[in-house]
């Protein structure tokens, strides 16, 4: 295995480990310590980050893989997980193509809006596909959206450090046909 491929492999492995930690934190740590607040959906911030920063094709397949990991921490069916994540990726992709911004505030807003879009899509998909659809859970989702907004900035800094550490410009620029500020690591 060449050094570049090894770096790429380690990158995917690290991000997968981070995703596992996020899911564990959300399911086992937060409910024990702060049971009165819903846990912030860190996995949303994670998905938005990689959707904005990484190239399209491998990211899509990686998101499918993350959707499968999500089902290990929840009773959400795989089809619902994948459909929801595709919608999330879609809105992130729109942000990626339409907005050029390098501020943490914009990232926080992107995460919150993406979460709102995901929730709406998930609700509609649930009404369409499930015999007993999900409920609106307005208060929980509003609180989650607020928490996502607050937590996204520091979380972005952490993910950016990890991403930059494993970044190989040759690979990423070869896979990216159109370069924009998001792909080059500038947000």
């Amino acid at each position: 295995m060449s050094k570049k491929n090894l770096k790429l492999f380690l990158k995917y492995l690290s991000f997968t480990a981070i995703f596992y930690l996020i899911c564990g934190f959300q399911t086992s740590f937060w409910p024990e310590i702060i049971p009165f607040l819903p846990a912030p959906a860190l996995w949303i911030i994670f998905i938005v980050f990689i959707s904005l920063r990484w190239p399209t094709t491998p990211t899509l397949f990686y998101i499918y893989f993350l959707g499968f990991i999500m089902t290990l921490f929840s009773s959400i069916p795989l089809k619902m997980s994948w459909l929801g994540l595709i919608c999330l990726y879609g809105i992130s992709w729109i942000f990626k193509k339409r907005f050029n911004s390098s501020s943490l505030f914009t990232f926080a807003v992107t995460c919150s809006v993406s979460y709102l879009f995901y929730v709406v899509c998930f609700y509609l998909i649930s009404m369409w596909l499930e015999p007993r659809p999900t409920s609106a859970l307005f208060l929980d989702r509003t609180l989650e959206m607020g928490l996502i907004f607050l937590v996204s900035a520091p979380f972005y800094v952490f993910l950016n450090k990890v991403d930059t550490y494993f970044k190989d410009t040759e690979i990423w620029s070869a896979q990216n046909i159109q370069s924009n500020s998001f792909d080059q690591g500038e947000f």
Partner: protein, 270 residues
Amino acid sequence: MEQKRSETKWFAQPLSFAAETVQMFFSGISQGVRGTTGEYLNLLNIKADNKQLKQELSELKTRLQAFNENQNELERLKNLLDFQKNTKMDLIPAQVIGRDMVPDHNTITINKGTYHGLKNLQAVLTVSGAVGYIFRPEKFTSHVMLMTDRYSVVDALIQKTRSHGIVEGQGKNGGVLQYVDRTEDVKPGDLIVTGGLDNIFPKGFPLGVVTDVERKTKSASLIIRIKPVVEPEKIEEVFIVKNAASEDFFDKGKSEESSRDKTQAQTEVK
């Protein structure tokens, strides 16, 4: 030898008076200083004593709190042990180690799995009532679907009338008891217990309490909203039913209720 006279001469008296005044003045100051210093030193000591006492009090309060917690924990574990001892069922205790990742589902993760003898569709109970059932056992952990989950379906019956129905989870709102004939006499406050027909739960175990009864004009059955007896957010320890051993809690519950009614009637007569 004769002592000299101690009287001040007339010319020295003003000087002596001045000396007296000065002495009295300085004596007053020194007394004031001594007093203030003494008070200040006392204050310092009081401050130190106060700090020490506050620390001791804080330590004692923490210890008292720890004792109270231990007492509560002891009570809780005693209840769990008593429950396990007083039943024919083969139970495996487990602790809750996680919750569902998304708010659309209500599941918990427990720290026992197939390694400990757990299987799919085994009932999960607490001392107070039924919680749910295992839907995905792993090697060392298992995922339990709570009865409030949208995908959960539990056979149930109304304790008072013994009419069967199906409890479907409605998320955090609780559940809905469906397919109960509209002629049944159901009121808010009635207890819903497990029916035992699904071969998951033992019969007669508390499931929920009726909160609302809806009679739709064009429907042959009632829509009965129920609230679970066990609050899902507060579950810490559970029991998994390895073998129900044909335990029937329905008749136990009925006999307990009738003996309570008898005692009450006797007291009223007296």
